[in-house]
């Protein structure tokens, strides 16, 4: 099957790029390994910072799609012949295109690696992904099926931590924690919710507003101190040990449930299929160079990257980058088709009267 652009990954960035490229008159196909498109959006209940319903957002994204999406595709091989990428799947279908967009996204940090936090050992230590699952099912319960009275969110799990090999900040867990803390308080107002943080990095639009609202309207309690270790009591409550670094004293707190705000890890599974992109993998394991200058950002051989495979991103940041990359793919394809490269493309950004 021949296309103009094959996109790997039907998450927010893959869908956005597909939609734009299709509208620009290119023949697009998105390959998705899961049974349904949407990527990580399928694992969310509500999205920060506006608490929009994730299924609704996804539904709107999908309603834009007028091109082919192949789901349950496991890519076996990617090769390049005569300027065409050939992507072969498990059924030996071959998808050929001059442009290949990698939008494979991220994977959540495996919290078991942070052994001292007790994930996988103590039942009441869960991850933010599992809490989001509970929100989607409409019921938040601890290991005994009861509604927890005290919940602690642990920031920076698998982020900024040399001991687990990821030294970067995942950028989205702080706001995720605040969003989930507020969701919990909305659900069960009498619950005591704590956030154990070392720095709160709320650099997105309205993030700081959400932080403040969580304090003023929802009484979420913030403790400055990174969790050192967890222990389990016989009744399966969890004791957290940390230093309250503002008081300058070691401290402990007993809670019914611990939520680990797991970071975003680069999903490198596609790397084995694309050995020649090694040069485009950064020290943090994310793809691409991340430079501002597009001449460094985009390869000139038809291979493009967009979304959270190029660094930790929110949904909006992913789709924004995708729209930008779609523009470069559009130019690349036009050049390949040897049509006249338009000096001024048809989108007018600023109109002077």
């Amino acid at each position: 099957m021949d296309f103009d652009c094959v996109i790997v990954g039907a998450g927010p960035s893959g869908l956005k790029a597909g939609h734009i490229l299709h509208d620009s008159g290119h023949k697009v196909c998105i390959l998705e390994k899961e049974e349904v498109p949407g990527g990580k959006l399928n694992t969310w209940h509500e999205l920060f910072p506006h608490n929009e319903s994730a299924p609704e957002v996804l539904q709107h994204m999908l309603s834009d799609v007028k091109h082919l999406i192949r789901t349950s595709v496991n890519i076996n091989k990617i090769s390049r012949k005569m300027g065409l990428f050939a992507v072969a799947d498990q059924n030996n279908n071959e998808y050929r295109a001059p442009a290949l967009l990698i939008a494979t996204g991220f994977k959540p940090f495996d919290a078991r690696l942070k052994e001292e936090y007790g994930y996988g050992i103590f039942e009441n230590v869960i991850t933010s992904v599992e809490l989001e699952d509970m929100f989607r099912s409409g019921r938040v319960t601890n290991s005994k099926g009861r509604i927890p009275e005290k919940v602690a969110f642990i920031h920076c799990v698998g982020s900024r931590d040399i001991k687990v090999g990821s030294e970067f900040c995942s950028a989205n867990c702080c706001i995720t924690g605040i969003k989930q803390a507020v969701e919990l308080k909305k659900m069960i107002p009498q619950m005591n919710v704590y956030c154990l943080y070392m720095d709160l990095r709320l650099g997105g639009r309205l993030y700081e507003y959400n932080y403040k609202t969580s304090q003023t309207d929802y009484k979420v309690q913030f403790i400055r101190g990174r969790l050192s270790e967890t222990n389990e009591n016989p009744d399966q409550t969890i004791v957290l040990r940390y230093e309250d670094t503002l008081a300058g004293r070691p401290a402990k707190i007993t809670v019914d449930m611990v939520v680990l705000l797991v970071g975003m890890q680069p999903d490198q599974s596609i790397l084995n299929l694309l050995p020649d992109i090694d040069a485009q993998v950064g020290v943090d394991g994310f793809f691409g160079t991340g430079r501002i200058d597009h001449s460094y950002r985009n390869t000139d051989d038809g291979l493009f990257f967009a979304g959270s495979c190029t660094g930790p991103k929110s949904v909006t940041q992913s789709t924004d980058e995708s729209a930008d990359i779609a523009h470069w793919i559009d130019l690349y394809l036009k050049r390949m088709k040897q049509t006249e490269t338009p000096e001024h493309h048809d989108r007018i950004w600023i109109q002077h009267s």
Partner: protein, 101 residues
């Protein structure tokens, strides 16, 4: 009062031997896991603060509580070689207190 105009020669000396000390982000993991912090109120994070601010007398007292168990180095997210840093602090403090700094 902390006088940031004054230099801390021992901090500089320790940094030379254990450069990773400069990467401390004051997260408090070390103090939270420390076996003696509960009794003394000191953890590695606080030692670095005292060292940086030139509070050598207090630092010398605080260093006596360290049992060299190494738990702080296990949990440190920045991978600071805390034990070596403490040994260096002790070494320089000994020399400098004789010089009456």
């Amino acid at each position: 009062m902390i006088d940031q105009d004054k230099l801390s020669p021992i901090y500089e000396a320790v940094l030379e031997k254990v450069p990773s000390v400069s990467t401390c982000i004051s997260c408090g993991s070390c103090s939270g896991t420390c076996i003696s912090s509960d009794q003394t109120g000191y953890g590695f994070r606080k030692l670095v603060v005292l060292l940086r601010n030139g509070k050598y007398k207090q630092l010398e007292k605080a260093l006596e509580y360290c049992q060299f168990c190494g738990k702080c180095s296990l949990v440190c997210p920045r991978g600071i070689n805390t034990r070596k840093a403490i040994l260096e602090m002790k070494k320089y403090l000994k020399v400098h207190t004789h010089e009456n700094i």
